[in-house]
């Protein structure tokens, strides 16, 4: 039964049908709850959608954005449930995200935040034009193991190297892990290594897996 519902939700995600997707989740939650819907229905459907996205270049940012909105819808409904039983909330880790210095293309970063939160991460989103020291100070303050830095264009991606250097010079190499992302890294994958990223993901949904892997690799 659940696999059929996951498939239906996947089809709604592919069709960018926000209304149908919410109906499927609501129906499942009415028999169970939103937390289970998040874990058993949305997460697997998003994972499949992410795989589909990677294999299918015709998926646009608009498709991803609507998928993000659907995740946000479910997340908000789950949050309402949490309000009544906060002690039960389980998270997978703490992540710091932001667009690197001089970068103002926030959509990808916001999608990453949505999908990380939907998957149980506590996300601290620092917004656009974030300096290296701001990323690191916040990570240390909040106890995060992973920093996600986003850049859309080559000229700004180079600023991520400053963040790499700052992490290393403060002695947090292999401790504070650096995830990098944005359109330019999909176009020029070799840049990941050049700017000192510990890993990247081709889209927002895949970022969840990346953050988990980096968190496990962290020696903090």
């Amino acid at each position: 039964m659940i696999s059929q519902q996951i498939e239906s939700l996947l089809q709604a995600l592919k069709a960018s049908d926000r209304h149908a997707a919410n109906d499927i989740v609501d129906e499942y939650a009415s028999e169970n709850n939103y937390e289970d819907a998040l874990k058993n229905l949305l997460e697997p459907a998003l994972l499949l959608f992410g795989e589909y996205w990677m294999k299918n270049p015709d998926i646009s940012l608009a498709n991803g954005y609507i998928a993000g909105k659907i995740a946000e819808d479910v997340l908000l409904k789950t949050a309402e449930e949490y309000n009544n039983r906060k002690d039960e909330k389980i998270y997978k880790g703490i992540a710091i995200v932001g667009n690197i210095e001089d970068d103002y293309h926030s959509l990808g970063r916001r999608l990453v935040s949505v999908f990380l939160e939907a998957s149980g991460w506590e996300v601290h989103d620092l917004g656009n034009d974030v300096l290296p020291e701001e990323f690191i100070d916040c990570a240390l303050d909040k106890g995060a193991k992973v920093i996600g830095a986003s850049a859309m264009m080559f000229v700004n991606a180079k600023n991520i190297k400053k963040l790499r250097d700052e992490i290393d010079s403060r002695g947090y190499k292999d401790k504070l892990m650096l995830a990098v992302g944005g359109a330019i890294f999909n176009l020029r994958p070799e840049l990941v290594e050049k700017v000192g990223g510990d890993g990247t993901a081709p889209n927002a949904i895949s970022a969840v897996k990346l953050f988990k892997e980096l968190s496990l690799r962290s020696k903090l």
Binding site: P57, D58, K69, Y104
Partner: protein, 343 residues
């Protein structure tokens, strides 16, 4: 044949002395005249000097006004960030919410003093190169312009979830873009270059483009000049068929990694198709590789009378060795010698 005659002949599928070629050297002119980019992108005289130097150095078949969308954003009041080697970028979008569009003056180009920079350049270049070489100026259609005003994510959200808001924005951008295009044409622009910076397959779905198509077509119809649809560096082929019959649109520039033959199949035989070497990549290739790749493209398209060799995507980088760019011209000349027995 001069450039003007060559482009005109290509538009008609007539014979030419050699294939026309276009090099996006909007930025590169600053390097030739050794101008700091902040001045180059704010002083029309300096930009004009740079493009004259480009023309004298390479003799391309098109001359470009500044190929910079952020400069359009600056005209609306957004702050620019300048770089040593790259064109300026917007620090942030002009507006953070939809209602702020009300603060704009009436949608006339004359109400935005910074647009004078573009208009002056076009006027100077077209005066100098009248009937010699066409002048191409970048502009945006009314559905793409809001990406500059609101940023990509905000405009996408408005388009996806706020029909009233979308209409409110277009009610402003349509008359503005028409007036600005008229001003560019009145000052001597030969071709209006419109990259679909929003309506492209990486950002929106085909259905979204189809919904906006009547607006785009009506807008292009009211634009009394020739339009070049330019990929601008994004994926383009999946939607090229949607734009192929757009009024007044005579040429299509595909991205550096897209297949010219597929593009031709989708466009039909009698539209100008341009491409297909990646301009920003020229800095990373050897002169020999550039020559070979140019020859390969010319051979592939040699029987296509509506083909123009062009660098695709964004500007050719400032520090690209001059020899790399010259190799394109050498290959064009050599191919003409082989094909027509002349250089």
């Amino acid at each position: 044949m001069n450039s003007f005659e060559r482009i005109l002949a290509t538009a008609q599928g007539a014979s030419v002395d050699r294939k026309p070629f276009s090099l996006l050297l909007s930025l590169y002119g600053a390097g030739i005249i050794n101008a700091p980019l902040k001045e180059y992108y704010s002083n029309s005289e300096l930009y004009y000097e740079g493009q004259c130097a480009v023309y004298e150095t390479f003799k391309p078949d098109f001359i470009f006004a500044p190929f910079s969308i952020p400069l359009l954003g600056a005209a609306f009041g957004s702050e620019l960030k300048y770089f040593e080697d790259f064109p300026p970028n917007l620090r942030k979008p002009v507006f953070s919410n939809l209602d702020e569009i009300r603060t704009l003056p009436p949608p006339k180009a004359e109400n935005f003093p910074k647009l004078k920079y573009f208009l002056d350049i076009v006027q100077k270049l077209s005066s100098k190169y009248t009937n010699q070489a066409p002048v191409a100026a970048i502009t945006l259609n009314p559905v793409d312009l809001p990406i500059v005003l609101f940023g990509l994510d905000k405009w996408l959200e408005i388009v996806l979830f706020d029909k009233t808001g979308t209409k409110k924005v277009l009610d402003y951008t349509i008359p503005f873009c028409l007036d600005y295009n008229s001003s560019l044409l009145a000052n001597g622009t030969t071709f209006l270059v419109m990259p679909p910076v929003f309506l492209n397959p990486s950002i929106v779905t085909r259905e979204i483009v189809e919904n906006f198509l009547p607006i785009i077509n009506s807008f292009n119809s009211e634009t009394k000049g020739y339009i070049i649809n330019h990929s601008g560096g994004t994926r383009y082929l999946p939607f090229i068929d949607l734009y192929k019959d757009s009024p007044n649109t005579i040429a299509y520039v595909v991205s550096g990694n897209e297949d010219l033959k597929i593009a031709r199949d989708k466009l039909g035989p009698k539209k100008i198709l341009a491409g297909n070497i990646d301009g920003p990549e020229l800095i990373n290739l050897s002169p020999e590789r550039i020559y070979k790749k140019t020859m390969e493209i010319l051979e592939l398209m040699q029987d296509d009378p509506y083909f123009i060799f062009a660098t695709s995507n964004a500007d050719i980088p400032l520090k690209t060795p001059i020899e790399n760019i010259r190799m394109i011209k050498e290959a064009i000349k050599e191919k003409a010698r082989i094909t027509y027995g002349r250089s």
